[in-house]
């Protein structure tokens, strides 16, 4: 029942979205009814009991950032496409708190429109992750992806640093926040820095590589693997990245939007935004050059030494 209603809404939204496609992202007119209160730190309403206009502080967790909303994938949505129409009245009816909200898969599951994202495969991948296994039902897609603001980054962004910081922020929102962490776990909250103390300069690393580059296995068909592995299976070997065949080529650096801007060659390697990774930035020309110089030096030394021995023998 819920699903049917949702599918219909999706369809309706889809059509309106298509109509508004070429236009600037514009907040839906009817949303201003909600945003009048939900976009500000304070809100005012007419108190029927006291018959007075009152101004109060809005719970910061209930404030919607309209800029982020308009840059998200669901910007064309009306609030009540997802939330109940009954929110139009204030105070909101209390049973609205119990309203079941749609998950990503409720709307996107089995939908070919966005086949390129492989929603069903992501769902299956996620179901095998430690989060789903240990967190169970509580751990939904929404724990990482906010439906209001969700934005596709990795496949669109041209800046590695943007991808890394946005993706890591998702993970850090729990792993450096004991309160959110407890939403899905009864276990103790491990200290994030201590866990990664084996990695020198880990703050620098976390600005240049994603958590998921070490904590998932590569999935060729998925742009973003969702199977967070148990800690024992995380990448700990430095050479996975710090070597000529750095695994980052198959993970973080695989996105075509990044590669399109770069061609091979030394200068472009230096021009790249990519950080310098010890051991992984090898320039074939330099390698050939240095090996030749080395061999020439050694050959010179050997010939010289042989001549010395030889001539001494002769003169004796």
């Amino acid at each position: 029942m819920l699903n049917l209603k949702l599918k219909l809404t999706c369809l309706a939204v889809g059509f309106t979205a298509m109509a508004a496609l070429a236009e600037e992202p514009l907040m839906r007119e009817e949303n201003h009814l909600c945003l009048r209160c939900h976009a500000d730190q304070t809100y005012s309403f007419f108190n029927e009991w006291t018959q007075k206009e009152e101004r109060r502080i809005m719970n910061p967790f209930h404030i919607i950032d309209t800029n982020l909303y308009l840059s998200g994938v669901h910007k064309s949505f009306s609030c009540i496409d997802c939330h109940s129409m009954d929110y139009e009245t204030y105070p909101h009816a209390r049973e609205l708190k119990l309203e079941p909200l749609a998950t990503c898969i409720d709307c996107h599951g089995g939908d070919d429109t966005y086949a390129q994202y492989h929603f069903d495969q992501i769902d299956a991948d996620f179901a095998r992750s430690v989060h789903a296994v240990k967190g169970g039902e509580h751990f939904t897609c929404g724990k990482c992806h906010n439906q209001h603001y969700y934005k596709v980054i990795a496949r669109n962004s041209t800046h590695i640093s943007d991808i890394v910081s946005a993706d890591n922020q998702m993970c850090l929102s729990c792993h450096t926040n004991a309160v959110r962490y407890r939403l899905t776990s009864v276990h103790e909250y491990p200290d994030f820095s201590t866990v990664h103390a084996w990695l020198p300069n880990h703050e620098l690393h976390f600005r240049s590589v994603r958590c998921i580059d070490c904590h998932t296995s590569v999935e060729d068909s998925l742009m973003v693997p969702h199977n967070i592995l148990p800690r024992e299976n995380a990448v700990k070997n430095c050479s996975e990245c710090h070597s000529a065949n750095s695994m980052l080529q198959a993970t973080l650096y695989k996105y075509e939007n990044l590669q399109a801007r770069e061609t091979s060659g030394l200068l472009s390697a230096i021009k790249q935004e990519r950080p310098y990774i010890i051991g992984a930035n090898q320039v074939p020309l330099f390698k050939i050059l240095s090996v030749s110089i080395l061999l020439a030096t050694l050959a010179g030394i050997v010939i010289h030494a042989l001549l010395r021995v030889f001539i001494r023998k002769k003169s004796e």
């Binding site: 710090h242 070597s243 000529a244 021009k271 310098y276 010890i278 090898q282 330099f286 080395l294």
Partner: protein
């Protein structure tokens, strides 16, 4: 028996030399491991990084002592290059190494109390000690504290450029080291120079050479040494080959 023993290498210099030598060898080995991303069951990247960092600091400090010591004990005078006739002298020394020594010729610039290095040594040591080493120390410090490096040099990645320069200089040092070690075997006997770098004494065996060559190049050296305390006057002896 040597004709004469000259105290060539004071203790501080010898200590510096061997600390520096061991350090450079470790740095080159770990540098290669890191730069080429060499890995295997016996090689631990993390260990290579740590070792490289620590050794780098030790070598930097020891270089600092060398620098101070050189000026304090007038060691630096052995590195002073006099430009006039320099090319000719280099050429002469190279000729000697390339075929002169095989024909039994005498070395054109044998070591004396006043002259530790022949022109080729002097040049290569000068560039190594006062150009390559400071540069590699500076780039190394930069890589250890990347926040010191300018992010972008025009459109180029600052850390990347620094790392390239650091690696290239390291490679040059490696080539220098190979030649340096080999050249040290060219002495009275192959181990003579190693011995003197341990006990400090250089043995002069070949008196006639000293005598013979004296007029040809000793003047050049003398002038060099005295140049610092003596103003240039009209009667400066001419360079050997004009």
């Amino acid at each position: 028996m040597p004709l004469k023993r000259v105290y060539f290498y004071p203790l501080w210099l010898r200590i510096w030399h061997w600390v520096n030598g061991a350090g450079i060898i470790i740095l080159i080995a770990t540098g290669f491991i890191m730069h080429w991303g060499i890995h295997g069951s016996l090689i631990d990247f993390n260990f290579a990084v740590t070792l490289h960092n620590i050794t780098g600091i030790v070598v930097t400090i020891s270089y600092f002592f060398f620098f101070i010591g050189s000026f304090l004990f007038y060691n630096s005078r052995y590195y002073r290059i006099r430009l006039r006739g320099w090319q000719t002298r280099i050429y002469k020394q190279a000729q000697y190494y390339l075929y002169g020594m095989f024909k039994g010729e005498k070395p054109p610039f044998p070591p004396t109390e006043r002259r530790k290095f022949n022109p080729l040594q002097k040049t290569s040591y000068f560039y190594t000690m006062f150009l390559i080493l400071p540069l590699i120390v500076f780039t190394g410090i930069g890589l250890m504290y990347p926040e010191l490096i300018i992010d972008r040099v025009y459109r180029y990645n600052g850390v990347f450029l620094t790392a390239m320069v650091h690696a290239a200089l390291g490679f040059l040092l490696f080539v220098f080291l190979l030649i340096h070690i080999y050249a040290s075997t060219i002495g009275y006997d192959p181990l003579a120079n190693f011995r003197s770098m341990i006990n400090g004494w250089h043995e002069i065996h070949d008196h006639p050479v000293l005598k013979e060559e004296k007029d040809e190049d000793e003047d050049e050296d003398e002038e060099e040494d005295e140049a610092e305390d003596r103003p240039v006057t009209g009667n400066t002896p001419a360079a050997p080959e004009g």
